[in-house]
Amino acid sequence: MATKTQLVPRLRVMEIRPGGPQPRLEDGVTLEKAPRKPAGDSLYTADRYRLLTSYLVINQETYKLQIKSSLQDHQRLIGSIIILQSVLLILLLTGLLLINQSLARRIWKPFYQTLRKLRAYKVDDPAPLALAPSGISEFEELNTAVEQLAERSRQSYLSQKEFAENASHELRTPLAVFQGKLEMLMQTMPLSEEQAMLINDLADASHRMTRLNKGLLLLTRIQNGQFPDTADVSVRNTARHLLAQYEPQIGQKGLSVEEDWLDELWVNMSPNLLEVLLGNLLSNAIRHNLPGGKIVVKGPTAP
């Protein structure tokens, strides 16, 4: 769109012949004779266009110059500019974000590796924690510190484990001495009833200690994975075998046993452990049952 000042150098001298056609200047620019020169320029802005009205004096003649400029194009242009700019901005931002992310991922990769390994690490794992070396010194330091920490806690755990096993083992001999002497004490004569009661209580306590110790040893063995003899065992057969074994105790308490095996259940584990497991369940069922009560042995329901 040309301004009045810009238009001025481009004005050509034209002759307006009376009766002749109106000389066409540009689109939207009209020049016509005006009666007289009013005040000054005026700019009219309508919805779709802008109208600049100006008056020129040429050769002592007053002419009205009107320049009309369509705002529609203007608006469309602004619109396109906005859209283009936004798209560019979005592209830029997206690109920046992606680059940032991929850069961050690459930079932090050793960190995330370390994090993953830490999450998966278990103190009772036989393999020590091994972290990948990294070129970045901060991560190297972190890895070294973490590895040392893991190793320390692993050693502590191992020595505790060994301790529990050793303790249980060492306890056996003094327990044996205690039980032996107690049994000898039972034989002494004369023995008053009072002494016998005391000996009885001692014997019960000694018995419980022995049982506790056995339990402790069993637990440490399970923890150490010392039951590698896995095989396919039938739960039903083991349960039945145990029920037969505990028949005297079951009968003595007047318990009735109900068996409900919908399906044969086979598991792959150490048969010894299965027997211990079922034995514990069954003995609790007997011990904590009411006299004349019922034991229900139920197999799994079909899926």
Binding site: R172, A176, V177, E183, M186, A196, H207, R211, P248, I286
Partner: protein
């Protein structure tokens, strides 16, 4: 009968010796592998009680030495280790039995008697005491000539008491003897009382004078003058 006790824990070894001596066994007590090897070289024993963890080496070497020299002494391993592999290993090397510490002295006594029976008398022997005649091969019990029909548990109980006669056998020991491994899971021993009642009834029916006395709730004693 001569028993050699190889046990480094002196107090325990002494308890065993004292208990067995009441059963007319002659007991010798050594506390290390070296002395044990010396003894078995020069003497024969009816039964040897062998502790594996000796201060100067593994007790199994003694066992190996015994078998290498084709000696027929019975061997019972007494050990604090109760792993299955340990048991199997011991038995494979030629031990007759494997007893895990802590054990009841009465149980040890019963096992010694069983081992001696097996080695000396090929498992069969007739026990006569307290008015009873027990045929251990046939597992029968007679009062004079009258047989008593005992269940397996009742027979085991009677034999146990008879082997440890004139001594108090604790109810814990009886429970463990009768139910093998399952015993420890129970803390009431009423079922022993029931067995005892039935046993006495059957024996008395066969004409026996009841020599089994309950001792103040500690256990039972079979008196055999």
């Amino acid at each position: 009968m001569k028993i050699l006790i190889i046990e480094d824990e002196k107090a325990l070894g002494q308890s065993i010796a004292d208990y067995l001596q009441a059963e007319a066994y002659t007991c010798e007590l050594v506390a290390d592998k070296h002395s044990a090897l010396q003894r078995i070289e020069s003497f024969d024993y009816d039964c040897i009680l062998l502790d594996i963890s000796l201060p100067d080496g593994n007790g199994l070497h003694v066992l190996k030495a015994l078998r290498e020299n084709n000696k027929t002494d019975g061997v019972i391993i007494i050990s604090a280790r109760d792993g299955i592999e340990d048991r199997i290993h011991g038995l494979q090397l030629g031990a007759d039995d494997y007893l895990v510490k802590p054990f009841h002295l009465s149980e040890l006594s019963a096992r010694i008697a069983a081992v001696i029976r097996r080695r000396r008398f090929s498992g069969s022997s007739i026990l006569e005491a307290a008015g009873l005649t027990i045929d251990t091969a046939a597992r029968t019990v007679r009062v004079n000539q009258q047989p008593a029909d005992l269940t397996r548990s009742e027979y085991d109980l009677l034999l146990y008491l008879l082997t440890n006669r004139n001594r108090v056998v604790s109810k814990h020991a009886i429970a463990e003897h009768l139910s093998g491994d399952g015993e420890g899971l129970f803390d009431n021993y009423d079922f022993i009382y029931a067995h005892m009642k039935n046993l006495k009834k059957k024996l008395i029916q066969a004409g026996w004078t009841d020599h089994i006395k309950a001792v103040y709730g500690m256990g039972y004693k079979l008196e055999a003058p």
